[in-house]
Symmetry: C3
Subunit: 110 residues, 3 copies
């Protein structure tokens, strides 16, 4: 019953969440999960001018499970093109196997 | 020293955490980690009737490292059977290698 | 454009974050992400003497993407050596592919 999937992780500034959610939705992916995060990167200074190491959870880690690697890369490319010149961020892929889902597969099944 | 393990991730509604913790404990897994999450899925409406996109962290992402794939699938099957007809949720697997652990292996070693 | 990387995950008590951040920085890794977490492990009692199952988010899940597996294992070894005798914690690896990054690769590129 396990179904191979690609997991895309985008870690970036929290203020971008709604815009990234729209890109994900437009891609055809059926959902995402986001958690508050703090972090320190090579830039050290965020777009707001504040240090990125403060404990204020102004980053988000956004995860998307996609059926295909192509869909994940398309989302990542659009996010990077639109935002990563001006905001700190990273996008990476891992492999996953979806076992059971009503969110990912939708109400009409997989 | 690395020890292959299966990582099970369950993302579902926060109110289920205690019940899922009992299923995990019963399975023989030695621990879990949970983080608050927000998300949007294909159902769009949660069991509470509120939209799932609100920024109120009523989802949780629960992670369990298990020695065997079978143990992970058993936990996922029980969670899905009990809850995913009534609550939004998803379960997926990834591969991991445990390096050092006092939580996962227990006080008596691995 | 995808670049193979190793993802190190350390889940441990929140009060260790600053010390672990220094170990990560010293290793040459260019950044990390941390999220608040709750959890239950085989020890059941944390270093503070409080049960680890309380919903107070005193754990952290720290993630580091490294170019090499060796760098990830070196960070994990140092963290385990310094802290895991006295504090609950776990370290594990997964494979990842970095797609786009300004944090991970630094302002000078990858």
């Amino acid at each position: 019953m396990a179904k191979p999937a690609t997991k895309l992780v985008i870690i970036t500034e929290k203020l971008l969440l709604k815009k990234i959610a729209k890109i994900i939705e437009k891609s055809g992916a059926t959902g995402f999960t986001a958690v508050d995060a703090i972090g320190q990167g090579s830039r050290n200074v965020r777009s707001t001018g504040h240090p990125s190491t403060s404990d204020n959870h102004t980053n988000m880690k956004i995860e998307v499970l996609t059926d295909t690697r192509e869909m994940a890369m398309q989302i990542a490319d659009e996010v990077a093109d639109k935002f990563f010149a001006d905001y700190s961020g990273i996008a990476y892929l891992t492999n996953a196997e979806v076992l059971s889902s009503y969110k990912f597969c939708g109400p009409d099944g997989c």
